[in-house]
Symmetry: D3
Subunit: 292 residues, 6 copies
């Protein structure tokens, strides 16, 4: 047992040394907190409770009389938590040099802007629910979609995350929110993507939608569809150039079947149908039918 | 900060108005409760504790002497929880016009019927465990399969959900139970599918098995296999017709390798082998070998 | 209600009888405990808190002054929990005939060996973080990768699990640890695989890496890549032979794009690029480019 | 170990037999639930959150703008929980023969009556806070009294419990609520007592106030004061007669010092001072000073 | 902030030094665990669930049909937890030199002996409930006494603790169990006291019953009664002699009113009545009436 | 049901109006938080874990090797929590006009001062443990006193609270800490009292020690002892004057038996013995023996 303790103490000493050497970047700054996965999950839960009252949240006694109390409390809690996490996100950004008061003021404004947009988010999400319902013969009613469809979960988390990006949140926070959905649905939508109304994903496991993708209205994807990048240009130092427009544009009314792979900044013209397992790296005109 | 509060109060007012307009369907009915994800998870946990005592549940002291007490308590708790959720499922169905007492009586009977079938479910699940063990060189013993194989989890949740459908549960509840497995395994089996004994799925991520699929005995699937629909006929109003038989029939002793896609109401004849990444939309006779 | 109770009592009796018949293997041995999923999750959480202090664990007040206290406490807790679960793993192995004291002594040594290797694990994981950062134009900084990239989670859990296998843990425990990552990332890496430094997986859903796979340094995989077995030879009794080398060898500096399937004990030569959706069952020389 | 199991199984058999013999009254009726200590504690917590917003409850973000949302949600939750527990109280009363619907209707009305009286309860409690503040040189401000004075806690729980008795709750429920305060303060006030405004108890451990006590306005008690019964008359069968008026009447503006014992249906006249450790079993005129 | 850290590190160093100096006894032995307050609380909860099924424990669905399952599971859990805590108690005793296997065997036997006595404990507790009911005009029914009377709680915890002492538990464990009741009732009964059937305590705050007290059948105490020691003889080294019989003997059918103090190894003869606030240090013959 | 909702909405409106009228002081200020009972409880728990490692806290694996890690982590957590609650205490004080940065700096210094004094607190507490052990024939060892003696708990909480007062904490926080002990022990020690080394309280229920009490070394109290004020002088406006020295001085080596009441700024001379149930309002010379 002596040698057990020796090994342990030696490991502790080495691990502490690694951290303090400064070569590695995993060491926290003093006193500042990183965005918290648990808090972001609570933020997403509050959004769901606000967007779908009666389905999510502490809904056992929600009725039309008391709805406004619940919405009010949930919106207020959401504001408090958003402000905290938005500040945490700023602390995470090494280039952010704001003083604490400016950070708080900025975070409060971002949080309010996000909350102001919740009615609009709700409007769009309703179109997504309807699109899923219209396109799936197995869907019995809207409630089933809200409670049991992974595709909707991935879309709602994306819409929340995308809006946070728009109001100015540090990108880590939206990314963690879409990753939460990815981990339970297998659908990986980057928060930076732009996606129109009436968006539907069926089954969804394996779907990947990249950062600079643009998707129009009334588009439907099946499982395993990749909207990805084709290549990553590097600069003269052989470092990948970040931020280039590198993912596809999908126009309105397109259906893309399971396993299709669409790569690069190409355009799939409106009203096209892309068959399953296809591999597409060139633009396709409107009303095309592409099959294997 | 004043304007923050203005934005927030305005958002609350708009959100409440949206809900109360009645156009949207997301508003809870007064006093009735929807099926609860947490309660369904507890129901599934109880089923696992009953089917695999010593592996799941409060098993720290289960032994052959005290097993009957544990099974007894767990079966009783399962009955209580099932009755509650079965009633919640009925409330969810807008067409259900039963009075409360009939609902309770019906739910009690469904719950008892489900419990009565647990020994049979256990019998079938044992064949699934054995099928996985026989077919995977990496499987060291039955316990590893029970504790660590996502394929088994997806199958067990499906078998529970399918039986609930058979005893008459509102379809939302079984759907939520298979979706629980989908979210942690990436395997999406519709509770309406019919699946025979000795069923094995290896790795499993991306597997999709549609609502009207029929699978015989001793079938094995690998990751990424889709047993899906080919097209969704619409009625004269351009509304998708629900309930049509649209997924494949897989006969006994078939193996389907990774990434194969089988679409439409076609039949894969018994003792066939379907190669990886194949795309099949026409029936295949018994003892076929299909490769890319 | 009488008949409800009848059905329930009958089911209890049948279930108890099934368990006690001894034909089925799901019955716990008296007094001994199986490895616990919750405890293994706690072990993985402690490893993350030790490897990435400030990112995971009870990190609200970690700073360079107090880091050593936190590392110390976490390493000690890890040792205690490892010893318990390593013993549980031995009990799980029907062939293990050690007496309790030997089991404890062996478990203590394995746990110390594992802890002794943590600094090395941390070194390798740092190369993985860097490899992901260098290869993904969407990655803003190391922190984002640590907090939000499923690929890293799958790799870290694999590295923990693989080391446990090396120090002699019963294989069930490492398997459960990689399966935890599989369930939230869709990436299925067998703990028995051998994987070099600077390993990156992008998106990752659907990736499968089999038990006897060998991967060199600086390899990158995209979603849906399978490194699998081609066939499972059986012995004269038609029982699959376990333990055969049956998965690919991927040499240094290989990139494998989404959906590629590589099967059998073949070698992908160094500096090769394997295109998306390819199906490869034969070895490929160094510096190859394989496309669909 | 065999004999261990024998003893255990024998004990189980005996205990079950005792319960089922019907001689003992500790056996639950089928399907009906007794009032729950946890739920009553939650009810009391909600009352505190409503009466003292910002001091108790989920108060981290209560401000004057959002107060109404919080009060609204808490009042609604209170109503739901009260209805459940009021019904449980009725089930507890063996003489209650109401059908379920009448029970629910009655409980809903009682709960609403209780909630209607909350503003009045708040008014009275404010006088209690002020009385404590005026009489204690150690009290720094109202907040300290609300957060840290056991006397106030005992009084508030009593006022809640007494009102529940008034609206018709089964006596068990109010009794459990005052007993909650008794257990943490050592102050035992029967919910049936009648107590006027501006009531103060200092320190309080050991105070006992009996069921039929009447206390006027502006009365102050110190620790160890008993307002008790002197004797319990029995009927011809030697059974104690329940419900007799047997505790003292304390008129307005009386101070009773530590350890005084006042027994029987006697009257302490207004503006009297009762000294510490006195033993009083006869009425005392107004403006008396009684000392040891 | 630098000086903050200096103060903190200095304090840590001093505290560690104090512990390791060995002068102080507060340092844990390596690897062995002290009895756990939480576990003892769980043990007491299980005893309540077994003694009063339907009142305590997970009772939502207990009925006469399923009672035996619940009793069985609870008794089994109780046995497991008792064994652990009995072993922890032995470790706490510095003089205990047993090897681990003997400790476990002894603990298992003690636990079984305790469980064997549960039906008898239940018999006696029933007499206590009845005694309280007969003597309190405010008591509405047995259930109220079981759920809301602190006197009963103190007595039941005492009876459990006393039996544990009888089966041979280390005295710390019973002491912690009676102290749990003391902390919520203000009634301090030493587990070593001997107390007969039909024992009642009313209100109870401030009651003290010493280690060597003997109480007959059908005795009733009111709040603030002390059954204490008069003096503590010391040995030649001026060290108090432990274990001397120093508390009163109360014979059958005695009533002792509030605040009475009875000190020393004296006897209160049967059928006596001791008045409130009396101070008694000499024996009293049978059928006495002592008043202030 | 309509009238139910009417009553509820009316009650909400009235309650909101009461709060917003400003007459009542129970309304929280915007954004600032009051001291939290839960956080103070966590602070006390951390102090116990630091003062008594192995007895309290997460002690399952504390040994002499790893003690320093545990002390280090606990001291650091304590510092963080203390700073937060000390700031909350300042916000609670309406007269405190400091800006946020000064508050934080002051709180950090107070917290460090408190932590710096922990080794001294531990020294004194050790004398208290020893005093209890020497004076109680029922005490088997130090561990029993630490784990099960309410007297010690009350003293330790007092010593923590008193030191917080000394370092400058808002008085609410220390008061809440002694009240925590009061609620579970029935012993009410004001944090402002001054108490010397080797202090013992036996049983303790009902003990009251007032704000300006001074107690020397080696003093022992029994249950029900009051060290209180005799009268509260008022000013010309009939308002009680706060802060006057009004409680007794107890010199070294005094024993005070159960139920004694000592009132006013009088002195009990050293080496005196005060008998049970005595009532003392005048000073007593050294070496006195006072009996009833």
């Amino acid at each position: 047992m002596k040698s057990d303790n020796d090994k342990i103490h030696k490991a502790v000493a080495l691990l502490v040394e690694q951290m303090q050497s400064g070569v590695l970047s995993h060491c926290n700054q003093n006193g500042e907190r990183y965005p918290s996965g648990d808090e972001l999950a609570a933020i997403v839960d509050l959004c769901y409770a606000i967007l779908f009252p009666g389905f999510f949240g502490d809904s056992t006694s929600v009725n039309t009389d008391t709805l406004r109390y619940h919405i009010g409390v949930n919106v207020e809690k959401l504001h408090v938590k958003l402000v905290e996490q938005l500040i945490a996100g700023m602390c995470f950004d090494a280039d952010d040099k704001k003083d604490p008061e400016t950070r708080t003021a900025d975070a409060r404004e971002m949080a309010s802007d996000f909350i102001e947009s919740l009615p609009d988010i709700r409007d769009v999400v309703c179109t997504d629910v309807e699109a899923i319902f219209r396109g799936d013969p197995a869907a019995k009613n809207y409630g089933e979609i809200i409670l049991a469809y992974p595709g909707l979960k991935a879309i709602v988390n994306y819409r929340i995350a995308h809006k946070l990006l728009e109001v100015g949140a540090n990108p880590l926070m939206p990314r963690m929110i879409t990753e939460m959905a990815h981990s339970v649905t297998g659908i990986d939508i980057h928060p930076g993507a732009t996606i129109g109304r009436y968006f539907a994903i069926d089954h969804g496991t394996g779907v990947v939608i990249g950062e600079t993708t643009i998707i129009g209205e009334n588009v439907k994807l099946y499982q395993g569809v990749t909207l990805g990048a084709r290549s990553f240009p590097s600069d003269e130092n052989n470092v990948i150039i970040k931020g280039i427009l590198r993912h596809p544009i999908i126009e309105d009314n397109v259906v893309i079947y399971a396993g299709a792979t669409i790569l690069g900044r190409i355009t799939i013209g409106h009203d096209s149908v892309i068959g399953g397992n296809t591999w597409i790296t060139e633009s396709v005109p409107a009303r095309s039918k592409v099959t294997l």
